[in-house]
């Protein structure tokens, strides 16, 4: 076992000082000279024709520098891959909250007054909010021209509101079902939920004297945003520069261009910098929330508990547009079939346009929806067969050499070990009081791949600056880079400062997300540090005439071999006569053969008179490689579990006629400090991670199986199951009453 000095230590996060002193600058904190405030007028109707937009009174208001309608942005379409989103609606609005007009003005008050002076005449049209309705053959088409859209993965043979379909599977379903002793079919639904990052979407756009488009935005994938904007407005990418700022939470929701294209046009027309910050009503109504889903699972099983067949269809409500998903569909849907060795499977996930707020990515996109259905279903089969859910899972879980239900083959499979670790830590099987139950669920996620760069530059004062275009929206990527660079250069972590790069500095960075941060950043930091180290050793060897291959970096010094002879690090930097630095560019998109398993067990008490669920404790077991920073790692687990608890028990954006109706944190509830139970974490050590430090990802796994574990615990406690999220007290009581009838 290698022992490290900095890696594996709970060092303080690199950006911590700035954040605890209030100095960290987020996009909404920025002030540029001459900056204007942007504001949007949004449609109150879920579907309507725009007959007339009269902006004359707004244009005439003193202090207003730009007023735009769909005429000013006609034809522009943008998205993360499917370019179907207009900056401003043109002939029709397709969801309540869609942007219809925008202004830029000297103050927030003037901007709001200008918005109030814009008159819009709508002709309301029938709206379809339900994807099951929207899928029908006779439903009107939200996007009749969808086959012409840039980025549509596959042209539709017959144009419908179902604009993308993905399938996974293996074997022959008919064979699997024919073999089965029991067949079970159930349907599960999950609601619209919001990422609820506390910093709303914000951006500042400024076209400078060189006609470069300078952007600061709460967006965690700046190079992708640069590409998307350039393509949408028809300019060369190098005219656009994304400048790094801190991001106040993301969870998948800050990867979309959102208002940036529109604010570009406001900046263009007003010839001033323009800032736009969504207020939280706008966030809840019109950002890019987690997709609602309706999933039907049909399974076949033998009497002894062996699964023979698994068929699942997931219908995602995409809302009015598909542009806020980088994959157009949600790949996590395949996890409805989980890490199990089922021989005959078929999973189909479809995206359906409806007159509702467009969905985006949220922590493990598609997985919480799929896993809620799949893991709930597994538990139900187990109980019907009279087999303990733990035994049932152990029987069907993949082991070394097994292919998963959707065709993945991993090595160093720790699925069973992770589940067993969870069950031990949760004291699964120990007696429980009446109306108290335990439930489990599993997930698996490999760290995502991508591309990034790191530059390591030695400073004359003996410190090191590490530069990277990867941003840190809270997950700790800067700290990862810091620790790796410090470790490889034999420095203490306080000698390494992270300064992010803007998009001019390097060619590309995939952006933070997809649990790729540690995998990609650690490799890039390692390579850059190695390159820089070579340069440093060369410099040291020149100063003292040493053999560079025999030098050791340790404790801020350069040692000659195993001797006590050394030069101080900063002495080398100050006296070598050239700038010492090393850079790297890493592109690692390899489909991994290792994954990280997660097993979670919830323990709940149910008040059978009210249906209220009290979460007593929650155990989370994770299959990890090397953990670079234990407290940062635990923080990701805690945060993900609490988000999962919110999804399971309380979060739902309620939609009436396509319009979101709970639009404040007073009505849309996320867990508070008083809502969380005792959390136990157990880490299962694996030797096969990725990269020089054998790491695995942690960002998303922690939140995807929580709801299923809780649903299963409720069934264990009181013998009834709730098939839709959130599992509210009212639903539990109704289920209890139905079962007693």
């Amino acid at each position: 076992m290698i022992s490290y000095n900095v890696i594996g230590q709970p060092i303080v996060r690199s950006d911590g000082f700035e954040k605890v002193t209030g100095r960290a600058q987020y996009t909404g904190d920025l002030k540029l000279p001459g900056m204007l405030w942007g504001k949007v007028l949004r449609s109150p109707f879920a579907h309507a024709r725009i007959i007339r937009v009269d902006t004359s009174r707004a244009v005439g208001l003193p202090g207003v520098h730009a007023v735009l309608t769909g005429d000013d942005t006609r034809g522009v379409r943008y998205g993360r891959r499917l370019f179907d989103v207009p900056p401003l609606a043109e002939e029709r609005v397709l969801f309540a909250g869609e942007r219809v007009a925008a202004v830029a003005a000297e103050s927030m008050e003037i901007a709001q007054n200008a918005i109030d002076l814009i008159e819009v005449e709508y002709d309301p049209l029938p709206a379809i909010a339900d994807p099951l309705e929207s899928m029908k053959g006779d439903a009107f088409l939200l996007h009749p021209d969808v086959n012409d859209y840039v980025g549509l993965p596959k042209k539709l043979e017959k144009v419908s509101n179902v604009f993308v379909t993905n399938t996974w599977g293996k074997g022959e379903l008919d064979t699997g079902f024919a073999q089965a002793d029991h067949i079970l079919e159930r349907t599960y639904t999950t609601p619209l939920v919001h990422q609820a990052y506390l910093e709303p979407h914000s951006c500042v756009v400024f076209i400078d004297e060189d006609q470069r488009i300078q952007i600061w935005a709460a967006n965690k994938a700046p190079f992708a945003l640069r590409q998307q904007l350039a393509a949408a407005i028809g300019v060369d990418e190098d005219r656009i520069r994304l400048n790094p700022t801190y991001i106040g939470g993301d969870f998948g929701g800050k990867g979309s261009p959102m208002d940036v294209p529109l604010v570009y046009f406001l900046a263009l027309h007003s010839k001033r910098p323009v800032r736009m910050v969504m207020d939280y009503v706008e966030e809840f109504t019109a950002a890019n929330p987690r997709h609602p889903s309706v999933t039907t699972v049909r399974s076949g099983v033998l009497n002894d508990g062996t699964l023979t067949a698994w068929e699942a269809r997931i219908i995602f409500n995409s809302g009015a547009y598909g542009g806020f998903k980088p994959g157009v569909n949600l790949g996590g849907a395949r996890d409805v079939a989980g890490p199990y060795k089922i021989p005959h499977t078929f999973v189909e996930a479809i995206q359906v346009y409806t007159n509702s707020v467009p969905g985006g990515h949220m922590r493990g996109p598609g997985e919480p929806q799929g896993i809620f259905a799949g893991e709930s279903h597994l538990d139900e089969i187990a109980r019907i067969l009279g087999i303990d859910p733990l035994e049932f899972r152990l029987k069907n879980l993949v082991g070394e050499g097994d292919v998963t239900a959707t065709g993945s083959l991993y090595r160093d499979v720790k699925a069973k070990e992770t589940l067993e670790a969870a069950s031990m830590a949760a004291r699964y099987g120990s007696p429980l009081a009446m109306n108290v139950g335990r439930g489990m669920a599993m997930g698996a996620r490999a760290p995502g791949g991508g591309e990034t760069h790191v530059g390591v530059i030695f400073q004359k004062d003996g410190t090191v600056v590490a530069r990277t275009p990867i941003l840190d929206q809270g997950t700790g990527t800067y700290t990862t880079v810091n620790q790796v660079v410090a470790e490889e250069l034999g420095l203490s972590s306080d000698k390494v400062q992270i300064i992010p790069w803007n998009t001019d500095a390097v060619s590309f960075d995939t952006g933070i997300g997809g649990s790729r941060g540690t995998r990609v950043a650690s490799q890039a930091a390692y390579a850059a540090a190695q390159n820089a180290k070579q340069e440093l050793l060369r410099a040291a060897s020149e100063i003292r005439g040493w053999d560079p291959s025999n030098l050791v970096l340790k404790d801020n010094k350069v040692y000659k071999g195993n001797t006590e002879d050394y030069i101080d690090f900063d002495f080398v930097v100050q006296n070598c006569g050239f700038d010492i630095q090393g850079t790297s560019g890493i592109e690692d998109r390899e489909q991994l053969t290792v994954t990280a398993f997660c097993a979670q067990i919830a323990e709940v008490a149910v008040d059978v008179e009210t249906g209220q669920i009290k979460l007593l404790r929650f155990t989370s077991a994770h299959d990890v490689g090397q953990v670079l920073n234990p407290i940062g790692h635990q923080g990701q687990i805690n945060g993900g579990v609490v988000q999962g608890i919110g999804y399971a028990l309380m979060e739902e954006l309620e939609v009436e006629d396509g319009r979101v109706s709970n639009v404040t944190f007073g009505d849309y509830k996320i867990p508070t400090m008083a809502d969380i139970p005792e959390l136990r974490t157990v880490l299962v050590q694996s030797k096969n991670g990725v990269g020089p430090y054998n790491i695995k990802g942690i960002g998303e796994n922690t939140n995807t199986a929580v709801a299923a574990a809780i649903a299963n615990a409720v069934e264990d406690a009181i013998g009834v199951r709730v098939y839709s999220l959130p599992i509210t007290a009212e639903k539990v009581l109704a289920a209890l009453r139905e079962s007693n009838v």
Binding site: E109, T610, N662, K669, I670, P671, T672, A674, D675, E730
Partner: protein, 286 residues
């Protein structure tokens, strides 16, 4: 926000003169937690805001032999922490403690909260069970009403133009009175109640001598469960009596479907929590 002028009267008389002068064009601001949001959402656009923070004579918590008097500008947090209230009217302190968050309780006032007339708030059902009275002042004089007469409908109080609440008067609780405030929060610890029950009772051995039950979040105004009260008064406590009394609240509640529960669920929960309050107070340890 829109254009407005803020006035800072120093006395009640000054305040009433301003209210009279500006009429509909003015709004009073106490803690600000409701009005600021209304203004930000453009639901209320007063030209004049009369800020009560510096008005003398509205900040007291006093007790006499028979009653406790609380000035309209006393903050929730002050009531929560007041030794006098904790001793004389403990259910009031424990009710105010359940409101929202500490920051809100640091800002919101008893008078402002009541004038807001939101039946889902915590204090109204307790003040209703306490038979509180509300002192109201205008340029023409003063009047005192029962708290039940203050609330007319959701967000509608019975104050006439030019009137404001100046004081809340609460009859002292007898030393042998027992009470409890139950707030049902099925969703999260920080929320308005799905239903709430305020119970104040005095027992004579096993017999219910007096009982008052205030219910919140189950009707357009806070209500008294008078049928349940009549069922209980003068009778010996038993499980059957408690169940019978609790069931009767279903006839008096009139809840709405909202984010905290459907009307049917709230009706059922009003019964459950009335029962739990009665069990706790009438059958629990003394």
């Amino acid at each position: 926000m829109h254009d407005f002028t803020v006035h800072h009267p120093q006395s009640l008389q000054e305040t009433l003169i301003l209210l009279d002068r500006f009429g509909d064009a003015a709004q009073l601001i106490a803690g600000g937690t409701a009005l600021m949001n209304f203004m930000k959402q453009s639901l209320l656009l007063p030209e004049h805001i009369i800020n009560l923070q510096r008005v003398q004579g509205l900040q007291h918590i006093q007790s006499t032999k028979d009653e406790v008097r609380i000035g309209a500008m006393v903050k929730h947090r002050e009531i929560e922490k007041s030794n006098l209230i904790q001793n004389e009217v403990p259910i009031l302190a424990s009710t105010y403690r359940r409101v929202a968050t500490i920051r809100i309780r640091n800002m919101a006032t008893i008078g402002g909260g009541l004038a807001h007339a939101d039946p889902a708030q915590d204090p109204p059902s307790t003040l209703v069970a306490l038979n509180a009275r509300i002192r109201i002042a205008s340029i023409s004089g003063e009047r005192t009403i029962s708290i039940m007469d203050l609330f007319q409908n959701y967000y509608e109080n019975s104050l006439m133009p030019g009137e404001m609440i100046t004081e809340v008067i609460i009859p002292s609780m007898h030393s042998d009175t027992k009470s409890t405030y139950l707030k049902f929060l099925p969703r999260t610890a920080d929320d308005y109640a799905t239903v709430s029950v305020s119970l104040i009772a005095t027992l004579n051995e096993n017999i219910v001598r007096d009982v008052r039950i205030g219910l919140g979040a189950v009707a357009p105004t806070p209500i008294r469960a008078t049928i349940a009260e009549e069922t209980l008064k003068g009778h010996a406590i038993s499980d059957e009596l408690i169940q019978q009394a609790s069931n009767s609240v279903a006839q008096q509640v009139d809840p709405l479907d909202d984010f905290r529960g459907s009307a049917d669920y709230k009706r059922d929960m009003a019964i459950v929590f009335t029962k739990r309050a009665l069990q706790q107070v009438l059958q629990g340890p003394s």
